[in-house]
Subunit: 203 residues, 2 copies
């Protein structure tokens, strides 16, 4: 198999793997926000267009490289379709679906374990979810204090994944999705939309 | 220093340490619920009365052995003093106090890290908090589904400690206690008191 100097061709076997390896490394080293398709392509020795050809946007490359079991590009349209006053119902629907798909729970627990022991994993996943999921939701809701609100949501999300899929605390771990989802969704809605106490704007 | 066969005297140096060492080991092996002052005393080679003399009840021995930075015996009177309808205000006051005491945060983070890597630590702390803090609160509130409600509270508590003291996600990590406490307290109140969706009683 011939290779052009300084580059790989679309048909090269291993090209996709080289891009994924470079992406994994750069996302971990630089975080999601600072890593770029251009620098990932350079490290993999391919044209940036080839990265786009295989993976589309940075978002999709991240999901493939990290093995993230949820895709904001699929969740956002469901969350944002409708008026702001009924967001809790749509969060409930999305959560019910996620909680009811056991095939993704193992990957979520694995990512959480990795994030707990490797700060760079925690950072890149946090940056990714913030930019691709939480910020669009906060913009749509036109909330004040979006960063504080998003970290409050994140705290309940991390606690839920830990309790349900890592530690496995009963009866929460086995509770039916349709029981848990509306309760947690209302927490997310409050954190995202309800007025915060005086003094929050100082943060 | 003389020792009586099969026992230590109250004045023995090392007696207190021997009790704490036996307690640490038995709480970890058997959990909080199943460990007893009698079996801990037997392992330490002392009379059970001596354990009571040094540490009082099992609750206080656990706090000393594990280095738990909060004491349910101090928190409960504050939480349960008053009528049920105003519990959120009292949870807010207790949470504001805890979040404002940096000296206990390092110990909380240390315990959480230990619980994340050692299942027996997670179990004994969970059993302790359930029996000595959560169950008395749930009884006072006369709630249905206390176990599910307590694990929901636990999920937000674990997430808050993780986000604020372990990962240190800003701006939540530096947010003023009086800003965070009422928001989290209202979540706890909802999880403890508000009606759960149909189907929860199947769990």
């Amino acid at each position: 198999m011939r290779e052009k100097r300084g580059g790989r061709r679309p048909g090269d076997s291993g090209t996709r793997e080289a891009i994924l390896a470079a992406a994994s490394q750069q996302f971990a080293q630089m975080g999601y926000d600072r890593a770029s398709l251009r620098s990932i392509a350079a490290q993999a020795g391919v044209d940036p267009k080839l990265v786009a050809h295989f993976f589309g946007k940075k978002q999709q490359l991240f999901i493939a490289a990290v093995g993230l079991p949820i895709n904001p590009a699929e969740l956002l349209p469901k969350l944002l379709a409708g008026n702001r006053g009924t967001i809790a119902a749509r969060i409930t629907a999305v959560l019910t679906d996620i909680l009811g798909r056991p095939e993704i729970h193992e990957r979520m627990a694995g990512l959480m374990r990795a994030a707990a022991s490797e700060p760079e994993v925690a950072r890149m996943v946090r940056e990714f979810l913030t930019r691709e999921l939480f910020v669009p939701v906060a913009r749509y809701l036109e909330t004040d204090q979006p960063q504080l609100r998003l970290t409050l949501v994140g705290s309940q999300l991390v606690g839920l994944i830990t309790a349900r899929y890592i530690v496995g605390i009963e009866p929460l771990a086995s509770a039916a999705p349709h029981v848990i989802a509306p309760v947690i969704a209302e927490t997310f809605r409050r954190y995202l939309v309800d007025p915060l106490p005086d003094g929050a704007s100082q943060e």
